[in-house]
Point group: D3
Chain length 161, copies 6
Amino acid sequence: MDNASNRLTHVTTAGHVHMVDVARKEITERIAHASSFVACNAEAVRLLRSGELKKGDALAVARVAAIASVKKTPDLIPLCHPISITGVKVDITVQDEGVHTQTRVTTTDRTGIEMEALTAATTAALNIVDMIKAVDRGAHIAYARVDHKAGGRSGSWTRSD
Amino acid sequence: MDNASNRLTHVTTAGHVHMVDVARKEITERIAHASSFVACNAEAVRLLRSGELKKGDALAVARVAAIASVKKTPDLIPLCHPISITGVKVDITVQDEGVHTQTRVTTTDRTGIEMEALTAATTAALNIVDMIKAVDRGAHIAYARVDHKAGGRSGSWTRSD
Amino acid sequence: MDNASNRLTHVTTAGHVHMVDVARKEITERIAHASSFVACNAEAVRLLRSGELKKGDALAVARVAAIASVKKTPDLIPLCHPISITGVKVDITVQDEGVHTQTRVTTTDRTGIEMEALTAATTAALNIVDMIKAVDRGAHIAYARVDHKAGGRSGSWTRSD
Amino acid sequence: MDNASNRLTHVTTAGHVHMVDVARKEITERIAHASSFVACNAEAVRLLRSGELKKGDALAVARVAAIASVKKTPDLIPLCHPISITGVKVDITVQDEGVHTQTRVTTTDRTGIEMEALTAATTAALNIVDMIKAVDRGAHIAYARVDHKAGGRSGSWTRSD
Amino acid sequence: MDNASNRLTHVTTAGHVHMVDVARKEITERIAHASSFVACNAEAVRLLRSGELKKGDALAVARVAAIASVKKTPDLIPLCHPISITGVKVDITVQDEGVHTQTRVTTTDRTGIEMEALTAATTAALNIVDMIKAVDRGAHIAYARVDHKAGGRSGSWTRSD
Amino acid sequence: MDNASNRLTHVTTAGHVHMVDVARKEITERIAHASSFVACNAEAVRLLRSGELKKGDALAVARVAAIASVKKTPDLIPLCHPISITGVKVDITVQDEGVHTQTRVTTTDRTGIEMEALTAATTAALNIVDMIKAVDRGAHIAYARVDHKAGGRSGSWTRSD
C-alpha cells in the first residue's frame, strides 16, 4: 500500500493533528475548481429570477461573500496553511431546481488550493440559503465538491462522476 | 400571496441588499439543528475508524472547527446579524459511506440561529474533506441542511423529507 | 468647564487609554447616519453608470463590504465596545463628480452606534476607490462623516453644516 | 481608447466582480504613501496637545490601529489580494485645524500596496474621530487619499493637486 | 464529591467537547482581574524606562493590543462564549526585573469574564516580549494568571498565594 | 554598544512605533520552538488523565487552538509582520504538577517565527486553563517562553537556563 493511502496526512504517528510541514515542497502555479448546488422550491427560483434580481444585487452578496471566504479558509480550517491567492472567480446561475455555483481559485505557492475553492463554493451556498430561507424553509445545500485541480507534485485531477 | 413569499427579505424595494432591522423583534430562546454528510471511499472510512483515530484527535479538529465557526457566521454571511450564542453541540459519527455531522446551536436573541447551525455543519464537513482528501480525492459534501428550528415568531419547523 | 469637554473620555487621569466602563449606562435604541463621498473623474463616473454597472454588481461590492464592516468596527477601533447590531442600510449613488454613500445603523445597547455608521461609510468609499483606481489614480475620499445620531443619554444630534 | 480606461478591472465582461488574476504579474518591491485629515474644533486640538497627550498615549492608539489595519485590508476590501507586507510607518501630527496622518507601506509582491496605505490613513482617522467625538460631535474625516505609489508595471505616480 | 469537581465542564459524558449551554444562567454584572509578568534583563528595563519610552509609545502598543485581545478571546478559545464587554482597563509598569501587567475586565452577561482578563494580560506580555526580544533573547512570560473574579452564581474569588 | 542593544527595534528615533521594514532581509528557512506550563491541582490532573480524556478530546481543543493561533499572531501583535507558515506542531503532555506544551513552527520568509511559536504555546495554555478552571480556580500559566530559534541573519539560539 502506498504511503499516501495508509494514513491521514494531518495526523502524526502519535495520533495528534499537526499542520503538515511543506517547507520542502516546490512553489508552483496551482488551480482548483469547485461547485455547489442549493436546492430550493419554485417560488424561491421565481424570486431570484424576477424583478428583484434584475434591479438588485441578491446574487452579488453570495459572489462577494464567496470571494471573501477564500481569504478566510485558513481560519475556518485550522490545519490549512495560509497561502497566497492570485485570483478568484465565482459564477452563480439560477436554474429550475435551484442555484448552481462554480468557483475557480489560483495560487502560486507550496500547497494546493482546492480547500479554498471548496470553501468559496460552500460559502456562496450558505449565503444563498440565508437569502431565500424566508420563502423556502427547506432550501438546502444539495452538494459541494471539488471538481478539478492542477499544479503541484500530485498532478492534475478532474472529477469523473 | 402573503408577504413572506413575495419578496426576498434581505432585498429592499429598490433591489438593494441590507441587514434587516430587527430592533422590534422580541428576544426569545431559539434553537436550530443542522446536519451534513461527507461521502468518501472505504479506505477513508477505514482510516477514520482505525488506530489513528482511536489514538488521536482527527475528528476533534472538525468538532472544534465547527464550534468555532458558529462565532464566525456573521463574518461569512455579510447580511447575518451578530447574535449571542448560548450553546453549541456537534456530533460527528463515521458511517460506512462517509461521515455524518449533527449540530445544535442555541441563542437568546432577536433572530434565528439556523444559519449558525448550518455553518457549523458545513464547516465540520469542510474540515473532514480536508483531512481525508489525500486518501480520497473524490470525497465531497453530499448535503448540508437545517433540520429543525424552534423559538421566535415564525414558530418551530422540522424537515419532513 | 463641563466634564465632557475638559478631557478625552478614552484617556484615564493617568494618561492611559482604556475601554470606558459602560456597565451603568442604560440599554436603549440608538441610531446613527453617516455619509462619504469619493471624488473621481468623468471617465470613472461614466463607467460606473454604463453597461458594466447595469449588467453587473460593481456597487454591490461596496454595499456588501460596508454592511460587513459594521461588524468589524470593534476590531478596527480598539477602544470601541462590541455591541449588538439590529440593522444596517447602505445607499450608494453615482453622481456627476463622484460616488455618494449614506449609511444608517441601529442598535439596542449601552453605547452609541455612530462609529459603526462612519466605518461603513468609510469602507464603502475604500471599496469604490479600489474599484476605480485603475481608471482614475487620483480618486480619493473627499469626506466621511457622521450626519445624525439619536438615542442614549446625550440626546439626538444632526450635523448643521 | 486604451484597455485600462475602458472598463473596471474588477468587473468581468459578464459584469460580475472577481478577484483579478495576478499570477503572471512580476514580484517587485512596491511602496505607497497615503494621508488623511480629521477636522475638529479648537477644544479637541487643545486637549490632544495638552497634558493628557504628553502623559499618555491618545495618538498611539490611532497609530497602532492604523498599523494593524494594513493587515486587515484584504478583509475590508473583498476584491483585494492578500499580499505580503514588508513595512508600515504611520505619522500623526496635531495641527491647528485638526489631525494629519501620513502612512507609508511597502511590499514585495505581485500587486500594489496603495489600498493598504489608504486603509491605514483612514483607520487612523476613524480612531481619532472616536477619541474626540465626545468633545467635538462635528469632528469628521476631511479627506483620505493616496499620495504616491511606486514599483510595479504601471510605474510611479505622485498626486499633483 | 460535588458535581463541579468530578468532570471537566467543557466535556460531555461521551467525552466530546462542546460549548456549554448557558441559556438558563442569569445575566449579572461580572468582573475579573488578571496579571502577567515578563522577566527581562537590565538592558531591556533600561530602554523601556529611558528616553525612547518617555518620548514614545512602546508600552502603549502592549496596552492597545491587550484591550483589543479581549474582543478576540472567543476566537482564541474555541469553547468560550462570545459575551458583551462593558469595560477594559490595562495597567503596565516597568519594574527592576521586568514588566508587570494588570488587567480588569467587566461584563453584564451570562458567563464569567476571567478568560478575557487572562487573555488580555497574556497578550500584553506577548507584545512586550516582541518589543524587547532584540535586546534580550531570553525575555519570557514568567507568569500569567487570574487574580480575582466576582459576580455570577459561583461567587467572588481572590487568589490567595 | 552595538546597534541592536541601544534601542528598541520597533521604536523609531522619534519614539513612535512602526512595523520594521524587512524588504531587504533575505528569505530563509526559519524555525522556532516555544513551551508553556499550566500549573494546576491534583484533581485537575486526575481528570485530564482519566476516562474523560481517554475517550475524548479535551487536549485536542488546546492543540487545535494553538495551531490556529499561529495564523492569528499578526492580529494579536500589531507590529508583527504577516508571514508564511510552512508547518506547526504542538505537543501537550499532562504531568504531575500540570500541563506542559511544546510548539515548533517553521517558515520560509524574511523574519523570525519565534513570536508565532510563543503565541501557540500561550494559546494552548489559555485553553487548558479554560478547560480546568471549574475544578481548579487557581490554575495559571506558570511560564511561556521561546526555547530555540534558528535561521536568519542573527543565527541560532537555544535557551540555556
